[in-house]
Every structure is written in structure tokens, then in C-alpha cells.
């Protein structure tokens, strides 16, 4: 069995499972944010008349709303807080960061765990070797809360092997964007994506993390890399070794044949996902020169210290273009602390950037980030569907922090290699 099959077998009390089996598995961690938490808690209150079995396994993070813009949002947070206290679940309040970075940096995720969440980017936790899946509000309310279990169909695995060394100007996020285009939206429906190969092995944990972030975009169920010493070291330091014992993982050479795709990244140019969907991926050069009014480092996969460092690399000693507002939204309090200690807060402030509280930033413009018709933003966010950030006639482009920084500098979409 591979990692996912081993975890599901252990969590469902079976010796073996195979793709297609439906199992009822013990859930180790359930995560939700302020919006999904509100909806899930409403469903639970209205329809489920059973106690919450393991409150200590449930974490709620306020990440879409970092400060309530209106009374309605204040009521949502108030309701969530009361609900969290009543059931004794863990709560990370406003300013903690985006849900996925916050729960990892707070030690809630570890290798071998079964992690569920209503947020569609929950599979990102496969970067730590967890089986991490997005499931809906009703499953959480009706099964995870009262029983700490969920049903799963064991997925077939698509192994994605990456080799090569990235050229200057390209980053792991460019690889992730490019892979969405290669596999296609809905190109891997219901599958588990296993990321492997020399390129993946060499990545640091929070760069590796960008790969399973694309799981939902290609339609897959979960994504993961088998944990190595880097992951174990991080997990041990967080006291989050999770549920690693007792797994029965065999190396790929001794497993039944799986679908494998191989990619070489050594000639990969900087990539950009253009409206209207995440799969509309092109080399940055194809749309260079397109004016932008907004730029942002933030989102469920952005705002890591790695992104902030890349941004600083482009903007050090320079000024953001006068036509552009550049938002910097740290992914977690830890990331902001690192930026402070490294002098990047001042450096980017001097360059004209605006700092926002750790959160999901302009994600769906719940708290910020609405655009008027005809405006464009380039960001490290994960979604670019029309109407998600204000007007349906506004445009969202998704790219690496280097490309976002270069574009903020020039006032138009810019290949970072032109300014480095």
C-alpha cells in the first residue's frame, strides 16, 4: 500500500484497502475557517442532536475576516466564538493567519494523520504526509462532530515525478501553476496525487507545500509527498508527530503499477494563470505589458515568509509604481514575525507596500480586495474566477511572488527576469 492507502487502512481498522473501497475512517483533525465554521455550526445546531465527540480535534481559524467590516460579520464572529467556547474546540481568532498556514505553524498537523476541512485547499496538508481531504459542511456536522469519523472512497493514485533544477526567475509556485495547466482542471478527478522525484526531495517544506495546494484545481481528492527527514524534523519541533506509527507503506517499486507522469522543470519559464480559470496558464511573457492596479502577496498558498523574501528581492531599494497598490498579507503570525526580524517589514514599507494583518487577505473580498470593472490584480492567490473580487468585469492573475513584485514595480505584468 502507498501512504494514503496505509493511512486509510489504519484509520478504518483494516489490514488492507484498495482503490474503490469505501471505508469509515477515524478523523484526527478537523479544520474550518470563519465562513465554513459558521455554516457547519448552523447545520450542526439545526439538524444534529448529538454531542461533539472530540472537541480537542476540531480547530476553527478566523481568516477571511481579520476585522469585521460590518455588523453582520461581527455577528458571525461572535456566534462562532460562542459556539467554540460552548463545545470547547480550539479557536485561532482574527489575525492568526490563513487557516492552513496557521494550523501547521500552531502544531495541529502531523504526518500520518487523517485531516478533514471544509476549505477546498485542505489537501495542502499532504505536504506533511497527512491524508488531507476537503469534505462538506454536512459531513462535518453529521459524522465528524458526533463520531470523529468520515466516509472515504479509497482513491487511485497518480504519481507525479518532477526532476530538474529551476532556471533563474522561476519558483516552485511557477511549477505548481504550470502543473494545473498540464494536468488540466478536472484532469485528475477523485485521484490521490503523489508528488515525488529529485525536484520534490530538494524542496524545503513550505515550498513543497505549494504542490498539493493544486489538488482541488485538477479535481483530485488529496495530494501528498511522502514525508522525509525535513518533514519529521519540522513535525518533531512542533510536537506534531501526528499518527505516524503503525503504517505499512511500501516503496513504489514494490507496489502495483500506478499511473505515472514525469515532468522536467529545468526549462520552465515564469508562469501565470489568467482569467477566467486557474487552468488558463501561460508563460508570463504571453501577457507581459498588461496594466495592473493591484498586486498582492497573500491567500491560502501565499504570504509565506518565502513569498515575502522573494518580493523583497525584487523591491529592495526601489519604489512600487504609482498606479499600483501593493498589499502584503502574511500567512501567519509566525511569518510576520520572521519578516520583522529579517528587516523585510521596513524594507517593503519603504518600497511603498501596505501591510495587512495575517489572514487570507483578498480571498473573495470578504474583508478587502474588491475591484471595480476594468481593474486588474496580480497575486499569489489560488483563485481567479470572475466576480470573486468585486466586479465580474475585473481580472485576477495568479503568479509567483517574484512576478507579483516585478509587476508592482513596473505597473504592468512583468517577467521578473527583466528586473532582477
Amino acid at each position: 500500500m502507498n501512504l494514503i492507502e496505509s493511512i486509510l487502512a489504519r484509520a478504518s481498522g483494516k489490514r488492507r484497502v484498495q482503490p474503490g473501497d469505501i471505508v469509515i475512517a477515524e478523523v484526527d483533525r478537523m479544520i474550518m475557517h470563519d465562513l465554513s465554521g459558521y455554516m457547519t455550526s448552523r447545520v450542526y445546531e439545526e439538524k444534529v442532536k448529538q454531542p461533539l465527540k472530540h472537541p480537542d480535534r476540531v480547530v476553527m481559524v478566523f481568516d477571511h475576516i481579520f476585522s469585521p467590516p460590518r455588523e453582520r460579520e461581527a455577528e458571525v464572529l461572535q456566534s462562532n466564538r460562542e459556539w467554540a467556547v460552548r463545545y470547547g474546540i480550539r479557536l485561532l481568532d482574527c489575525g492568526s493567519g490563513n487557516i492552513h498556514n496557521a494550523v501547521v505553524r500552531e502544531g495541529f498537523i502531523g504526518p500520518g494523520m487523517v485531516v478533514v476541512g471544509s476549505d477546498s485547499h485542505t489537501p495542502v496538508h499532504g505536504a506533511l504526509g497527512a491524508f488531507a481531504v476537503a469534505v462538506g459542511n454536512d459531513c462535518h456536522a453529521g459524522m465528524v462532530f458526533p463520531h470523529s469519523k468520515a466516509w472515504f472512497r479509497v482513491p487511485a493514485t497518480l504519481r507525479i515525478e518532477l526532476d530538474g533544477r529551476l532556471p533563474e526567475g522561476s519558483t516552485p509556485r511557477d511549477v505548481a501553476l504550470w502543473l494545473v495547466g498540464q494536468i488540466g482542471e478536472g484532469g485528475a478527478i477523485y485521484k490521490a496525487l503523489e508528488f515525488a522525484g529529485p525536484f520534490v526531495d530538494e524542496l524545503e517544506l513550505f515550498d513543497r507545500w505549494l504542490l498539493p495546494l493544486i489538488t482541488v484545481d485538477v479535481g483530485a481528492k488529496c495530494g501528498y509527498a511522502e514525508p522525509d527527514e525535513k518533514v519529521f524534523e519540522f513535525a518533531r519541533a512542533q510536537h506534531a508527530m501526528g499518527h505516524w506509527e503503525g503504517l505499512d507503506i511500501v516503496p513504489p517499486s514494490r507496489r502495483r503499477p500506478e499511473e505515472v507522469r514525469q515532468y522536467d522543470v529545468s526549462r520552465l519559464e515564469p508562469q501565470i494563470a489568467c482569467p477566467p480559470t486557474v487552468g488558463n496558464v501561460k508563460p508570463v511573457t504571453a501577457v507581459a505589458g498588461q496594466p495592473i492596479q493591484w498586486a498582492e502577496i497573500g491567500g491560502h498558498g501565499g504570504g509565506r515568509i518565502e513569498d515575502i523574501r522573494l518580493l523583497a528581492r525584487v523591491l529592495e531599494g526601489k519604489r512600487v509604481h504609482p498606479d499600483v497598490r501593493l498589499n502584503v498579507v502574511p500567512a501567519s503570525r509566525a511569518a510576520f514575525g520572521e519578516a520583522l526580524r529579517e528587516g523585510l517589514v521596513e524594507l517593503l514599507h519603504e518600497a511603498g507596500a501596505m501591510w495587512f494583518p495575517p489572514s487570507t487577505g483578498s480571498n473573495q473580498n470578504v474583508n478587502m480586495g474588491a475591484m471595480a470593472a476594468g481593474e486588474s490584480m496580480i497575486s499569489t492567490h489560488s483563485r481567479n474566477f470572475p466576480g470573486r473580487n468585486g466586479s465580474a468585469a475585473a481580472s485576477m492573475y495568479l503568479a509567483s511572488a517574484l512576478t507579483v513584485g516585478a509587476s508592482a514595480l513596473r505597473g504592468c505584468i512583468t517577467d521578473a527576469r527583466d528586473v532582477l
Binding site: S12, I22, I24, L35, S36, Y38, M39, V43, K47, V48, Q50, R72, V76, S118, D119, S120, A134, V135, G136, N137, D138, C139, A141, G142, M143, P146, H147, K149, W151, R153, E185, G186, I189, Y190, V216, D217, G219, A220, K221, T277, V278, G279, Q364, N365, V366, R383, F385, P386, G387, R388, A392
Partner: protein, 168 residues
């Protein structure tokens, strides 16, 4: 009709419609009957005002992609449609549909085989769709019996405890 067999006039949307175009995020805190008035407001502006109970929604590839929120399914059900037939579904939408209790069917070829307003006969357990205008019958993908049972029960909240008990 019995056991998830439906006959209704169809509405149509294209490929890759995300959940936040089914229900925009700033509407998720409204009451469900209010949300229903805005369903698919950008993807098919005539739908919410014109939909009648029992109509069928036809969609393209990877319908309901991106966010996994069940409100998208709940809002579609609140419009009164009987079912959704798509080329393919995003897995979170697919899962949510059975967990919330909205019949759906994956039927590759459905988009090209229909025009908006066609009357369709949909047999969810049998996995078939008949287009009345042309007489064409499409064979869709089989639905797992486990999911059909959940659908018959009315969703996961109705069967959650039974699933856990049955597993012991």
C-alpha cells in the same frame, strides 16, 4: 415517478462553473429562499427567475469546482430543480450532492446533446438520460450503491450514525 427518475425542462451552463458562481460568497449569509433567487446569477442570468419546480440543470465539465461549500448544493436544491446532469462534477460538489440530498448524474456528452429548454428524462439509479426532442439516450456513469442509499435516506446526517454503527 419513483426512485430518482425525473422528467423536466432543462437549463444549461458551460464548463468549469465554480461554486462561487453558483452562490456568490457575499450571499452565503442570506436565508436560503433569498439565496435561491441569485443562483448562477453570472453563469446563467435567466435561470433563477425562470426556473420551475422539477426542471433539470445541465452543466459542462467539472461542475461545482473550487470551494467545497455545501451551500452551493443546498441553494440549487432550493430553486426546485429535480436534478443536475453534467459532463463531470468536481469531487467536493459530487460528495456534497449525495450528503445534502440533491440527485445528480454524470453523463458525458450531455452538453452537446441538449439545447436549453429540451425536455429530459433522467433515471439516476439507471444512469440514463433521454433527450425527448431527438430521442437520443445517453448512458451516464454508474452511481455507487453506497451513495444512492445515502440519497434515498435524505443525506449524510440521516445515515451518519448508521454508517458508524454498521462499521463496528
Amino acid at each position: 415517478m419513483t426512485d430518482f427518475q425525473f422528467k423536466g425542462r432543462c437549463w444549461s451552463v458551460g464548463d468549469f462553473v465554480p461554486t462561487d458562481q453558483i452562490v456568490k460568497s457575499h450571499r452565503v449569509f442570506l436565508r436560503l429562499d433569498e439565496i435561491a433567487r441569485y443562483v448562477l446569477e453570472d453563469a446563467n442570468p435567466a435561470f433563477a427567475a425562470g426556473v420551475k419546480a422539477g426542471d433539470v440543470l445541465v452543466a459542462g465539465r467539472h461542475f461545482g469546482q473550487s470551494s467545497g461549500r455545501a451551500i452551493a448544493v443546498r441553494a440549487l436544491r432550493a430553486t426546485g430543480i429535480s436534478c443536475v446532469v453534467a459532463e463531470s462534477f468536481a469531487r467536493t460538489f459530487y460528495r456534497n450532492a449525495f450528503e445534502v440530498g440533491l440527485p445528480i448524474l454524470e453523463a458525458p456528452g450531455i452538453h452537446a446533446a441538449t439545447v436549453e429548454g429540451d425536455v429530459l428524462e433522467v433515471d439516476v439509479p439507471g444512469g440514463q438520460v433521454k433527450v425527448q426532442r431527438t430521442g437520443q439516450v445517453l448512458q451516464g456513469n454508474r452511481t455507487d450503491p453506497f451513495l444512492l442509499e445515502m440519497l434515498r435516506a435524505g443525506g449524510i446526517i440521516a445515515v451518519g450514525s448508521r454508517l458508524v454503527e454498521g462499521d463496528k
